[in-house]
Structure formats: structure tokens, C-alpha cells
């Protein structure tokens, strides 16, 4: 039994009402949907190029769109059936139109040929498995993870294979498995950590092998005592005591964001505009870690994920969902909506985006569907109380951005380092005047991008 290291928070944040209705609900597999809609961009990076066409028959796990460009992840069919449509789709929270493929189910669940790494599967006992991991060919791992279309499942959807590559000119000395899940309501990572614990740790071993760090932590907020206890027991049992430790962190929003997490655990600040690898750290979500393991042992691409359906639904649940399933199917499976629901949000209450049409699908980055009733808010003038400033984890001055955007002075935004804002929403959360600060910040960022683009053309 290894004791978890308790770490104090290193930034200002708030403890929010957790509302984790589903923290004790085991993951339930959603029955196969009748059709799935797969947007061709579900990750940070360039959209993929379609390699199938209408009326083609596809099987589960078959690649249907290839990556273009370096930072990209291929898309695979998530049910077996026929391609019925290729339509343009506007996603929630986007002004981009991406192409999407609709697959209508054939009633079976036929999978494409997949193969995992033989050495991993044939290891006779756990220590042999660890040995086999330590002997994996690194380039092979990266190729497999890339072709499996894995992306970060914590919400950001960054292509995973890039994070497994050793960066040029920099050394990674710490790996952090992110199991914080700091937003209220969401429990998908929590349940995945509990139910797939061994796979999460074996995936971690792969990451460890790829980077050979000096230390590693699995970061869990202290509102998930069951997970902390489980990993404290499991890590020494699996012989990993020298490699990774449990870090028990204060339940504070936004503890799970990469930058604040690294600051809390290591005391290092990622410089503005830089990445964690610039301070020698790789952060990987716990569910992504499991998906790495699945892709290496079974050759399984990213075709399903855990989604928490919660809020004002009749029976909140954690569901294992085939990617591309329309959101309405999930809501129906949870008993439907309670009376008076006016908003559906994909994501958590702090950073999620509104979904207007529930036939929109679950994508690789969807970790939660939240149903809520609108609370009418009175927006008033700023009273200069400074609560936004004292709650900003990035030590910015949110109210200055609001004022600059209102007066169209976007260079002021740049001066005050708006690019450092991670849009966590802590400022707007505590504002007594209910000013929609994050909206102003998003506008400011967009205008700065346009100004920059216009300058390039000039």
C-alpha cells in the first residue's frame, strides 16, 4: 500500500458544488445505434480526407478518413453498415463547417481485422507483461497509436501519438496521468479509472517506456477517495511502486487543466505560448492511457468512449458510447429529459458548448452531456470588485479584456497577454454583475487572429 502524496493547490481557484450524481454509477454500454454521424475533424489539427464513398459497406474499426498533415488523427467506422450520406455539418460552438459521414447500421456488429502486438498478448504473467512493454519498438508504438486515431480524451482531443514522441532537443523528466476531472457533474474519467484500472496503469507503462522519465504521478482530486485508495493499492501490487505515485490534489477548479496541474505538482510554470514539454513534462488523460493499451494489445482504434449523461435527465448514467451516436439516443436511454429543460450542453458546466440540435453526434472529445434549465440572468455594469482578477488561475486581468473589447482596442488585449487565457470561466463564475467575460475574451482572441491574418496578407 503506497500512501498518496497530498499536494496543496498552487493557484487560486474555487471549490464548486460538485453535483457528481453519477460517481457511483458503473459504466453501462449503450446499445448499438441505428446510425452514426462522424465529422471528419474531431481533433486539434487539419480535417481528415475521406477514403470511402456513399454506398460502401464498412466494418467497425475500418479506417474511413485519413489524416492530412502532421497534427491529425484518422477516423474509423464505429458501427458496421453502409455509408449513406456525406453532408456538411456545423458543430456546436464552431463557425467552421466540416464534412461528416453518416453510416446506417446493418444490424450486426462486424469488426474489421485487427491485430495487437503479439509479445504483449502472449506474456504469461504480469511481470512478463511489464518486461514485454519495456522491450517495445518505439517507432512501432507511435505508428500503431497514430493509425488507431487516438486523441486526448479529456476534452482537448490532441493527437496522442505526438505526445508519445520524444521531443527534439528537450528531455521529458516527468509524466503525469491526469485523473482530476475538476469540472462539476462529469464522472467519465472517474469511472474509467475505477473500472479499467489495470489497463490505465499498463497504458502508463507504455508512456513511461516511450519517455523514460525520472518521476511520474497519477493526479487525482481528493473528492475521489475511492480512486485514490484503489491506485495506492494497485500500483505496488503491479510492481510499479518505483515508477509512479498517486498525488492527491485539492478539489478545486480548474485543477485538471495542464498548466495549473503542472504548477501544483511540480511548481513549474509553463511559459506563455509554450507547451508542457517545454518544461519537461508530458500530461496524459487516464482514459487516453487505457486507449493506448487497447490499441497496442488489440489493435483497437478509437471507436467508443465513456460519456456521462447528467443534469436534468430522468436517470443520469455513465455510458460507453460508439463515437458518432446522436446525442438524442443517449438522452433517450437515460429516461429522457425532465420538464423544463431548455439547454443541452456538450461538456461540463464551465467550459461546455451549447448543442441546439440533439441529432448532433458524440465526437471523440465529448465527455459529458449536461441537460439544464435556463436561469435568466440580469447583466449589470462592472462594479470594480476585482473578483475576476483574484480568481484567475493565469493571473490575468479579465475585466481589462472586457473593457478593451467593448472599445475595440484589441492591441490592449495582446498587451495584457490574452493568449494565456484558457477560457476556464472562473472569472465569469464569480462575477456579481453576471458579465459574460469569457464571451468577450473569445471575441478579443478572434479579432486578434483576424488582425494578424490581415497583416500577413498586407
Amino acid at each position: 500500500m503506497q500512501t498518496a502524496i497530498k499536494m496543496k493547490s498552487a493557484f487560486t481557484g474555487q471549490h464548486q458544488a460538485e453535483n457528481k450524481f453519477t460517481e457511483h454509477s458503473p459504466i453501462v454500454a449503450l446499445p448499438l445505434p441505428e446510425r452514426v454521424i462522424l465529422p471528419l475533424q474531431q481533433h486539434i489539427g487539419a480535417p481528415c480526407e475521406l477514403i470511402v464513398k456513399k454506398k460502401d459497406e464498412v466494418r467497425v474499426g475500418q479506417i474511413i478518413a485519413e489524416s492530412k498533415g502532421f497534427c491529425s488523427a484518422p477516423i474509423h467506422a464505429t458501427i458496421s453498415g453502409t455509408i449513406t450520406k456525406v453532408v456538411p455539418l456545423i458543430g456546436p460552438g464552431n463557425s467552421n463547417i466540416v464534412e461528416a459521414v453518416e453510416i446506417t447500421a446493418d444490424g450486426d456488429d462486424q469488426w474489421a481485422e485487427m491485430s495487437g502486438i503479439a509479445e504483449l498478448n502472449s506474456a504469461p504473467n504480469p511481470s512478463a507483461t511489464l518486461q514485454a512493454i519495456a522491450e517495445l519498438n518505439r517507432d512501432d508504438v507511435i505508428a500503431r497509436v497514430k493509425s488507431a486515431g487516438l486523441v486526448g480524451l479529456g476534452g482537448a482531443a490532441f493527437p496522442t501519438f505526438i505526445k508519445l514522441m520524444k521531443p527534439q532537443g528537450k528531455t521529458i523528466d516527468t509524466v503525469i496521468l491526469n485523473g482530476c476531472e475538476c469540472e462539476p457533474y462529469i464522472t467519465s474519467d472517474h469511472r474509467a479509472m475505477l473500472e479499467y484500472a489495470r489497463d490505465v496503469l499498463l497504458g502508463f507503462c507504455v508512456i513511461y517506456h516511450m519517455h523514460e522519465p525520472q518521476q511520474a504521478y497519477i493526479a487525482i482530486e481528493d473528492n475521489k477517495q475511492d480512486a485514490i485508495a484503489l491506485y495506492s493499492k494497485l500500483i505496488p501490487e503491479m510492481g510499479l511502486a518505483g515508477k509512479i505515485r498517486v498525488a492527491s490534489l485539492k478539489s478545486q477548479y480548474p485543477m485538471g487543466a495542464e498548466k495549473t496541474l503542472i504548477k501544483t505538482i511540480l511548481g513549474r510554470e509553463v511559459p506563455i505560448g509554450a507547451l508542457p514539454l517545454d518544461v519537461g513534462v508530458v500530461v496524459q488523460n487516464v482514459t487516453t492511457s487505457k486507449s493506448i493499451w487497447d490499441s497496442l494489445t488489440q489493435g483497437k482504434p478509437l471507436i467508443d468512449r465513456v460519456v456521462t449523461v447528467t443534469g436534468a435527465v430522468k436517470e443520469p448514467k455513465n455510458l460507453l458510447v460508439r463515437i458518432g451516436t446522436p446525442i438524442q439516443t443517449l438522452i433517450d436511454y437515460c429516461g429522457g429529459l425532465q420538464d423544463g429543460v431548455t439547454e443541452i450542453i456538450a461538456g461540463g458546466p464551465m467550459m461546455g458548448v451549447s448543442v441546439t440540435d440533439t441529432s448532433y453526434p458524440v465526437t471523440k472529445g465529448t465527455n459529458c452531456i449536461l441537460a439544464k434549465k435556463t436561469i435568466p440572468l440580469q447583466i449589470s455594469e462592472c462594479i470594480n470588485c476585482g473578483r475576476c482578477i483574484s480568481s484567475c488561475p493565469m493571473r490575468l486581468l479579465p475585466i481589462m479584456f472586457v473593457r478593451a473589447v467593448k472599445r475595440n482596442k484589441y492591441e490592449v488585449c495582446s498587451e495584457y497577454r490574452i493568449e494565456n487565457c484558457m477560457e476556464c470561466g472562473s472569472c465569469a463564475y464569480g462575477c456579481p454583475a453576471n458579465i459574460p467575460i469569457v464571451e468577450f475574451i473569445k471575441t478579443g482572441k478572434m479579432m486578434l487572429r483576424r488582425i494578424k491574418a490581415a497583416k500577413k496578407l498586407a
Binding site: 455539418l89 464551465m350 493571473r395 486581468l397
Partner: protein
């Protein structure tokens, strides 16, 4: 349109769009103002206890005229009048810094100035540069100097008003019975403005504000600290300076006013310290006997400068080599 912009079929139900974040702490301007009023009830109670009917009269007139002026001004500007409590706070604060024997019509004039000129003309809540109650008092000092500097010993209810000197007039000379003097200062059994005499009750009000996180500790602590240090440097008794002259009322309720104090923590410490230094300097070297009112007003004028220069270093700022 159906085929191209959303997926086939569509559930037919459209949901509302709202901005992230979709959760709120539950703060509101009204809640803050009413909590401030609740905290102010402590010094108000002290004022009414010590100065009886005089105090009640001044308080009622001040609050009524403050709220009334705001209503008129909002009407004239075509803006909605929301009873969020901010005018009540200004009216109440102004009453608490008035001498108890002041003629009520003068109080009305002061209240009209506080809200009408020092607040509404600048743009209303959040836009004022100077603390409205203190600006009102300063205005009245200029117009009605004599009544504003006439002090009486506590009258309680019914006793006749007897003019007296306050520790400030006495130039902080401490009478021989030191402990009893400190005690009188602490509980407020001395002459002075209605709400400022009792350090104890102003402190209780301040603790309420701190407990509900309406204010943070930086401005009051810096203010008190600076006063005591500078007083000591002048060879004066720091405790007397701390306990008298409405310092507690000013430090907790007036210097901490949101619109007129800096936004950042470092800025607030500097602001509080500046107020403290100026207070003692005015008390010792200036012609006025009381320093808190003017020191805060002077520091108010420096707030935008402090905000511009004392900003927190953003996360991940790299030191330029």
C-alpha cells in the same frame, strides 16, 4: 437548409444557446450591498446608542435623500432605477461621519451632493473616482465648516448636548488615566461623528465584511499598520491613533469601496499604506484635525495610476534575459 446544415432527420427540438460558463457562484451586486449594510448596522447601533435621537434623525434624512437623489438622477438619465442598496450604503456612511448635532437640512444637502455629483455625474455605480460619502463630507466641510467641527459628548437618549473636544482636537494628549482612556476610545464613549467613535463596533462590522468575503484584509491591515508606524515615528502613541478619528470606520468601510480602490492585491496594500501615511501626516502637520477623510480621497485619485503599474505577473511570464 435542413439537408445541408444539420444532420439528416433532426430531432425537431431546438435548444437554446448560452455562453460558457453555465454555472454561477450566486454572487450579485444586491447581495454584496445588503451585506455591507448589515455590517454597517454595528457602528450604526453604536451611534444610536451614544447619540440617541440626534443620530436617528441624521441617519434617516441621509438615507432618504441619498436614495431619492439616485432615483431622480436615474430618471433624468433615462436609466432604470434598481434598488440594489448602493445608495443606502452611501447615505448610511455619510450619516455615520456626521457630527450628531448637525442641522438636518445640511445633511440633506450633503446627501444630494454625494449621490448626485460624486457618483451619478461620473456614471453611477462602478464609475465614480472618489468615495461618494467622503466627497460629500469634504463638500460640507467647505460649505458648513462650523457645524461640521462641533462635537458633543455622548448624549445617549435624552441628555442635553454638551460640546466637547475629541482626541483629535486635543492633539492626542493622553490624560493620566491611560487605561480608562483607551477603554473609552475602544467602546466609543467619547465625542466624535455618529458612527466613528466605537472602534469595537466598527471592528465587528469589519469582521462581518471579511467573513463574507466582501472585502479582503489587505487595505485595512495596511492602513492600520501604516498609521501605527508613522504615529510612532512622530513620537505619538500608536494605540490612540489607531482607536480614534474614525480610522476603523474609514479603513473597513470607505477605503475598501470597490470602485475607488485598486483591483489587485499588491495595489491594495500600497493603497492602504498610502492612506495610513497620509492620515497621520494630515493629523500632525495639516491644518485639519482629522485625516482619514482626506487621506482616502487623495489615495482615490491615485487608484488608476496604481492599477496601471502594479499588475500581477501573468502565469508563465518568462523573465527577459
Amino acid at each position: 437548409m435542413e439537408e445541408t446544415t444539420n444532420t439528416a432527420g433532426g430531432s425537431g427540438i431546438k435548444y437554446l444557446i448560452s455562453h460558457a460558463p453555465h454555472a454561477w457562484k450566486g454572487e450579485s451586486v444586491s447581495r454584496i450591498m445588503w451585506l455591507v449594510i448589515a455590517a454597517l448596522l454595528f457602528p450604526t447601533a453604536a451611534g444610536i446608542y451614544y447619540f440617541g435621537f440626534n443620530a436617528i434623525g441624521v441617519i434617516i434624512v441621509s438615507v432618504l435623500f441619498a436614495v431619492g437623489t439616485e432615483w431622480v438622477c436615474k430618471h433624468m438619465r433615462g436609466k432604470p432605477f434598481i434598488m440594489d442598496g448602493s445608495a443606502v450604503v452611501t447615505g448610511l456612511l455619510l450619516a455615520l461621519i456626521m457630527p450628531p448635532t448637525i442641522p438636518l437640512w445640511m445633511v440633506a444637502v450633503g446627501a444630494i451632493f454625494s449621490i448626485g455629483i460624486a457618483k451619478e455625474v461620473f456614471g453611477g455605480l462602478g464609475y465614480n473616482v472618489f468615495n461618494p460619502a467622503l466627497a460629500g463630507r469634504a463638500f460640507m466641510m467647505v460649505c458648513f465648516a462650523q457645524p461640521l467641527t462641533t462635537w458633543v459628548a455622548p448624549t445617549f437618549f435624552g441628555a442635553d448636548a454638551v460640546t466637547t473636544a475629541t482626541p483629535l482636537n486635543e492633539n492626542f494628549i493622553i490624560p493620566p488615566e491611560k487605561a480608562a482612556f483607551y477603554w473609552d476610545l475602544f467602546i466609543g464613549n467619547i465625542g466624535g461623528s455618529i458612527g466613528e467613535t466605537s472602534f469595537l463596533l466598527c471592528l465587528l462590522g469589519g469582521i462581518v465584511l471579511l467573513a463574507f468575503k466582501i472585502i479582503d484584509w489587505h487595505i485595512p491591515v495596511a492602513f492600520f499598520g501604516a498609521v501605527m508606524i508613522v504615529a510612532f515615528l512622530f513620537g505619538q502613541d500608536p494605540v490612540v491613533h489607531l482607536l480614534s478619528g474614525g480610522l476603523a470606520l474609514g479603513a473597513f468601510f470607505m477605503a475598501t469601496d470597490y470602485a475607488t480602490s485598486p483591483l489587485t492585491m499588491r495595489g491594495r496594500l500600497l493603497f492602504g499604506a498610502g492612506c495610513g501615511i497620509l492620515t497621520v501626516l494630515i493629523r500632525q502637520l495639516g491644518g485639519m484635525p482629522e485625516g482619514v477623510c482626506f487621506s482616502i480621497l487623495l489615495m482615490n485619485s491615485l487608484t488608476p495610476l496604481i492599477d496601471r503599474h502594479l499588475q500581477p505577473k501573468p502565469f508563465g511570464s518568462v523573465k527577459k534575459a
